[in-house]
């Protein structure tokens, strides 16, 4: 795929409950912010628009269509949607640009998870014959995975708590949109009760309402616009079996493969933003990506600091892009996930222009 420029990114605060706000009211501010940063008026000023969301979250059929009301979606708009995290809307938009059908694209993701019981809602993305009828919730599945890691001696509870402590501290230092942030020690975290053993509540990402948006374009277009930008050098996504028992839950083979295909190893990774909804999953992902002390992981706090379902993956890319555009780093990696126990993974490699 050809190199693509990220020219702007905007994200809302992560809030446990956005109250009366509906989807379109969550989306409009971030779209306006992302477009204004590029000097664009509305979605008619880009060639393609693609969104990511899931109707199950707010429990309204075709809720994503209402989201389109935030765009001024009148002809000749070219518009698409993925029933996935908006990181995959980014992927679709990159394909559109690579095929020469667009030079620029607006991507947005949104999720209002507060109306339902998210871990239970997510059970409905399991295979419909064997697992979904058992109502296995997302936290219980993650707990099974954490148990595998602990019993194999790959990680300890201290390691998990250390991930959480770093997330809270990073969110405090770097992320004004975070829902959970603060100074907390590993000892304090381990003193808390187990919730869905071996997970403690803080090992699980919070439930959040919000949205994020991004504008991408060809490198030529970014230079025309005269804007600073980050370059997506590689992107790839891979999926594992929906049969949890057939997977090696201690590893993320799909992440390993996606990273290889995206060219993650072609240079140093200064920052990695990983979509790890559970503390132990950040360790699985770090291992899959071969990250060491040379890489700063989740300087934003990651999704343990706030998880905008269907927007968090796009936000991971946005977090890395923002650091490259500001000149803080020259090369970074963004990861997005979907499905139970890191079933489906996307890796994007970003570099300075």
């Amino acid at each position: 795929m050809k190199d693509i420029a990220i020219v702007s990114f905007a994200q809302s605060d992560c809030r446990r409950d956005a109250g009366a706000c509906n989807e379109v009211e969550l989306i409009m501010p971030v779209i306006e912010q992302a477009l204004q940063a590029v000097g664009l008026k509305n979605s008619q000023d880009v060639d393609f628009t693609c969104s990511g969301s899931c109707d199950y979250q707010q429990g309204a059929a075709f809720a994503f269509v209402m989201g389109v009301d935030a765009l001024g979606a009148v002809p000749p708009i070219k518009e698409s949607h993925v029933e996935m995290d908006a990181a995959w809307a980014l992927y679709e938009s990159m394909l559109k640009i690579s095929m020469g059908q667009a030079e620029s694209a607006l991507i947005y993701g949104f999720g209002k998870s507060s109306p339902g019981e998210l871990p239970t809602v997510l059970s409905q993305q399991l295979d419909p014959y064997y697992l979904a009828p058992l109502w296995v919730d997302s936290v219980s599945l993650a707990a099974l995975q954490a148990r595998v890691l602990l019993d194999q001696g790959i990680i300890s509870e201290q390691d998990m708590a250390a991930v959480v402590a770093r997330s809270r501290a990073n969110a405090m230092a770097n992320n004004p949109h975070a829902q959970l942030a603060g100074e907390v020690t590993v000892e304090e975290l381990l003193a808390e009760a187990e919730w869905v053993a071996p997970l403690r509540k803080h090992d699980c990402c919070p439930i959040s309402d919000g949205a994020s948006a991004m504008v991408i374009c060809t490198l030529e277009k970014a230079r025309d616009w005269g804007l600073p930008y980050a370059v997506i050098k590689g992107i790839d996504h891979r999926m594992e079996s929906h049969n949890i028992g057939a997977r090696d839950l201690a590893r993320s083979l799909s992440t390993e493969l996606a990273a290889e295909k995206a060219g993650a190893a072609n240079g140093p990774i200064e920052v990695a933003e990983l979509y790890a909804p559970f503390s132990h999953q950040e360790i699985i992902l770090s291992r899959a990506l071969g990250l060491d002390e040379g890489t700063e992981i989740n300087p934003s706090g990651g999704v343990l600091a706030g998880n905008l379902m269907m927007a968090s993956g796009l936000s991971r890319v946005g977090e890395v892009a923002t650091r490259i555009i500001s000149g803080d780093i020259r090369r970074g990696l963004a990861h997005a996930t979907s499905g139970p126990c890191l079933q489906h993974n996307l890796v994007a490699v970003l570099e300075a222009a």
Partner: protein, 174 residues
């Protein structure tokens, strides 16, 4: 597959129940609070100037939040209608009855409501109608505070003027 395996299974039942606390949206919440008080209010788009009722949070054409509140009349114009002949389970309204797209005076975009106290065969586009509200003690946060719209003895609004009638109403062609 051998016959010993039994009949092939072609379907299984897996009922799904999920509970949600639905929220209307901030713009619709404002609208519903006013309907609760017996007032029909619209919201104006700062871009194209169109007034929506009920507003849903944004102007779909411009993608802008509709923040300006606009008072609407009790009178409206028929933009389109249909006669429903099919009985719908649990619906107390007996067919045939009229469902119409109505534009209230002062608004530019229609909403759907019922028409009654009318001769179904003489309902027509451009017809003037007015809201018949329930008694005040029955008002709730719902559009059915208005029971239905009934015809008015006013001149028809020509098609090109439907959706452009001001709050002051329609006096007929000047």
């Amino acid at each position: 597959m051998s016959e010993d395996a039994g009949d092939s299974i072609t379907a299984i039942e897996t009922p799904v129940y999920l509970k949600y606390n639905f929220t209307a949206g901030e713009a619709t919440t404002r609208f519903l609070h006013q309907v609760r008080q017996g007032k029909l209010m619209g919201q104006r788009c700062p871009g194209c100037g169109n007034v929506y009722a009920p507003a849903r949070g944004s102007c779909a054409a411009c993608g802008l939040p509709t923040t300006e509140e606009v008072e609407l009349g009790n009178k409206a114009t028929v933009q389109s209608f249909t006669i429903v002949w099919i009985p719908i389970p649990n619906n107390p309204i007996q067919p045939p009855y009229i469902v119409a797209n109505l534009v209230p005076d002062g608004a530019n975009i229609s909403f759907i409501h019922l028409m009654s106290e009318c001769d179904n065969d003489s309902v027509h586009i451009g017809q003037r109608v007015e809201a018949v509200w329930k008694p005040e003690e029955e008002w709730d946060y719902a559009m059915d505070n208005i029971r239905y719209f009934r015809p008015l003895d006013e001149p028809d609004v020509p098609i090109e003027m439907i959706g452009k009638v001001p709050l002051a109403g329609w006096e007929g062609e000047a």
